[in-house]
Subunit: 142 residues, 2 copies
C-alpha cells in the first residue's frame, strides 16, 4: 500500500524533474507527455499509428501531436520506404538534442539511487520494475 503511494509519488516527482531539466536546457515548448513520444520516435521506424499505439491514444491524437512536433522542429515526416499510405516520423537534429537532454536528466535524477544501491542493485531494481510493466514505457494516461 505505502509502497504504491511512494512509487506513484516518486514517478510524479521524477517526471517534473526531468521536465524542468529539459526546459532549462532550452526546450521550453515541450510538455512531459512529449517525452513518452520521443522514446518511441527514437528508433526511427515509427509511423503516426505506431505512436498512437505506444501512447495509448487515437491515431488522430497522435497525428495532431506529430503536427505540433513538426511545427516546433523536433521531428519531420518522410515517405515510408515500402508503404505509400504511411509516413515515417523521424527526429530532427533538434529532436535528438532534446532526447539527449532528457537522457541526461534521467541519469542525473537517479544518481543518488545508483550510489546507494550500487550497479547490481540498480539492475535488480530495474528488472523488478520492468516485470510489472513488460511493454516498455507507455504514457501513464491519467
Amino acid at each position: 500500500m505505502a509502497l504504491s503511494v511512494a512509487l506513484l509519488a516518486a514517478a510524479g516527482e521524477l517526471t517534473q524533474r526531468i521536465h524542468a531539466s529539459v526546459v532549462a536546457r532550452g526546450f521550453e515548448d515541450l510538455r512531459p507527455a512529449h517525452g513518452f513520444a520521443f522514446v518511441r520516435l527514437g528508433t526511427g521506424d515509427a509511423t503516426a499509428t505506431d505512436l498512437a499505439v505506444h501512447l495509448g491514444v487515437t491515431k488522430q491524437a497522435a497525428g495532431q501531436l506529430v503536427d505540433e512536433l513538426v511545427r516546433k522542429g523536433y521531428v519531420e515526416r518522410r515517405p515510408h520506404p515500402t508503404d505509400a499510405r504511411a509516413r515515417l516520423v523521424v527526429l530532427t537534429e533538434r529532436g535528438r538534442a532534446c532526447t539527449r537532454a532528457a537522457e541526461d536528466a534521467m541519469a542525473e535524477a537517479v544518481r543518488p539511487w545508483a550510489e546507494r544501491l550500487g550497479e547490481d542493485g540498480v539492475r535488480a531494481l530495474c528488472e523488478q520494475l520492468t516485470a510489472v510493466a513488460p511493454e516498455g514505457p507507455v504514457r501513464p494516461a491519467w
Copy 2:
C-alpha cells in the same frame, strides 16, 4: 537512465491496474486522477484550496473536481469549524468504500514485490522512493 524509464513505466502500469480494480468494484464513474484527490481528502480536514495545492492545480479546478465528486456522491461539503469562508470537503460512506477498494488494489498490485523483497526490503525501498518525493503523493501532472 533505464531505471527512470522503468520507474515511469511501472507507475503507469500500476495506475492502470489500480484504476481497473476500482472500476471492477463498481466505482465506474471515477478516473485515476480522482485517486490522488482521495488521498488528501482521507484525513477529513481538507478544504478545496488544500486540495488544489495537493494536486497542483488552480483552486477553480479543485472546486470543479469537488463539485463533480459531490454530484457523484463521494464527498460532501461541511461548514468549516473556525473559518466562515472555508468549507471542509469530507468523504461520504461511498467515498470511504472507494478508498478501501483503492487501498486493496494497491496492496494487491505490489504483493509480488513484497514476496520477493520481504518486509524489510519493502520498507527500505519505500524510504528510498519517499526520499525522492518527500512531499507525499502529488498528481503527476503530465
